[in-house]
Subunit: 436 residues, 2 copies
Amino acid sequence: MRTLIDDAVILTMDDKEPIVNRGYIDIEDTVIRAVGSSPMRPRDRAVYDRIVDGTGRMALPGLVNAHTHVGMMPFRNYASDLPLETWLFEKLFPMEDKLREEDIYWTARLGIAEMLRSGTTTFADMYMFSDVLGDAVAETGIRADLARGLQCFDDEFDIDTDTRMQEARALYRQYHGAAEGRITVRFGPHAVYTCTPRYLQEVAAAASDLGTGIHMHLAETSKEHRDCVETYGKTPTQHLAELGVLDVPVMAAHGVHLSAEDRSLLQEHQVSVVHNPGSNLKLGSGVADVPALQRAGINVCLGTDSVSSNNNLDMIRELYLAAVLSKGAFEDSIGVKAHEALKMATLYGGRALGLDSIGALRAGMKADLILLDIDQPHYYPLHDPAAAVVYCGGGSDVHTVMVDGRILYEAGEFLTLDIEKAKAETRRISEDLFRR
Amino acid sequence: MRTLIDDAVILTMDDKEPIVNRGYIDIEDTVIRAVGSSPMRPRDRAVYDRIVDGTGRMALPGLVNAHTHVGMMPFRNYASDLPLETWLFEKLFPMEDKLREEDIYWTARLGIAEMLRSGTTTFADMYMFSDVLGDAVAETGIRADLARGLQCFDDEFDIDTDTRMQEARALYRQYHGAAEGRITVRFGPHAVYTCTPRYLQEVAAAASDLGTGIHMHLAETSKEHRDCVETYGKTPTQHLAELGVLDVPVMAAHGVHLSAEDRSLLQEHQVSVVHNPGSNLKLGSGVADVPALQRAGINVCLGTDSVSSNNNLDMIRELYLAAVLSKGAFEDSIGVKAHEALKMATLYGGRALGLDSIGALRAGMKADLILLDIDQPHYYPLHDPAAAVVYCGGGSDVHTVMVDGRILYEAGEFLTLDIEKAKAETRRISEDLFRR
């Protein structure tokens, strides 16, 4: 199957040629064969099975949402604008206890639909019922990294009998490399304040045994920082480093409250930090100093966190926030530049997940890409395509979404899922859940 | 002409009944007659000339963009991510000098299209060529408050011979109350650092003579604050108060760098502050402490600023930013609540402009309203309609826009302007401008 996307503005995320003002993308099955300048000669066009007209469109690598919890879909916009502890302990946790595996089937599909519709082609998830989510990933054609969320408050706990840990290992065995390689699996210890030191070490050892990594929360709030210093005499980052947890590949979500020493440790251990600006703002956690992280040589990528703290899954809003918060919060009009914000949402996300074949449009990369409709008022005039997406764009501009060479969303239509059913069922499940 | 909008979720911005979960809006000509609960009896529906189906829609008062510069449309995404002074003095000002009156005709229409398309029904503008913009307002049916931008660096300057001031007075005479009352005019002295004290006093006197107000920039950057203290021994707010400028109705854009005493002065003089979170972030100006302004009893409304510093005109993004920045920048998960952010973008904007008949949906108010399409993935489940718009919504969700009882935008169609021509001409003008 040969596909040609022709005559689009292309943001490649490839430093050799970052922008092609009128270009084509030549795709064979799941892989990009070439990116070049349009127009292509008519006789060269004859070889393609499918030609996608890119006029009035901007092509980008598909976005990588490197931190979310899709299973939380039923809790979107539930209990907003409350003190953090009230929201979490009085509102959210009791509802999460009522969540059942069968609730995930359709809500996961709605979450995937929302991500596709706003340009995400790969997401990294940490939550319960990851196997049900894995099936939804396989079926809908999106790419994902899954982690079963893990917690342990009791150091005498036996990790071998821990149901969650058993689920995590089973998830790895069953789903790592599944769905034509679109699924990867790692371990998801929640955070330093929800896992004992011994448990963290055992999870890291399990990850190391299987040759995979860890996806966890780190340095999200000042309370986490203070409590950790009080309990262990160390910052959360120091604590993890000393436990050896950072010796496996770690993707650390948040990184809001970090010292210069913390940043050095993260860089030394090649930890990727997932910036979640929307969630950090909404929960009042603060603003991560992304320029400082980048100056320290840390790979910083982007995530939305869940719809319970964001409250949507629009990665274009996140990359906008990454670019403007890095300026406004630090009174620096340069901060994270537009092109760099786009790399955080694409190439650097792939890097964090250990996927070096996604996040850029060039020969040999996976055909994971999106086309934005730039024939809209907010894209005129188009002086600077990267700035236009970052400062003017939004998830709703996405017109076409391709993963592994397969179109999953196009012009309002979801080609691999029943969106009407997903919406109706999410409403029904959510109502039912709140009556339980 | 009787119009019925039936069976919508309605956010009224009226404290007596903030949300009608399934409601109707009864409109006669330009005014709302009633807001009530659906379903309406079939025989009651017979009186309407037009019935708009509100199923799957959320109705809100039209949004009020209380600070923008529509004439800057050709400079969108030009010279991003630069030091502030470079952007302003080396890039923007030289291009502004090349701007001609004929450039405004189509670019103003594109700006109005962008605002309508994202739910703005009233905007307050300060710039050059305000009369051309006034004609575009009259023609397109939007509501606007116009101010000719004023500057004076020389205290010996004769205000009677100042061309800008003459234009400002002519603008008032010709456009104040024009377009069936949809246009109001005030004076637009740029800022304390671009107007001499005597000039500011003379502008305030002129506004007072005509019984109108002032729209100006105030306390945008820490540099403005420092320079003013250095030059006049006073903060910008103190300076204006002592000059008597605050004795006329003032709408002050930005208000990022204010002391507690400044806030008291603003409250005392009933100055409305226009919060421009997107622009303040992008230019690295900082984050205005909106909760502190509100605690001081100040009317705080919202604006986008221009596409040169935002870089779009989407008020739903601004109200999102107002809500989340007030939490994240101050590590407080409550901050500006969703419903309050919506009021800033509607009712409080009307109040700032002295328009008490816009900004809420209740009997007797102007029929300025919008319908959002909430039958989209990011609105499921809909636990809390206000939170849903604020935390999940975006300008692209806007489906229908009505001003003064007249539908100006509906389902992708602009009913009062030629959008294809506006886009093409904006591109042409912008290219031409950069070649001059």
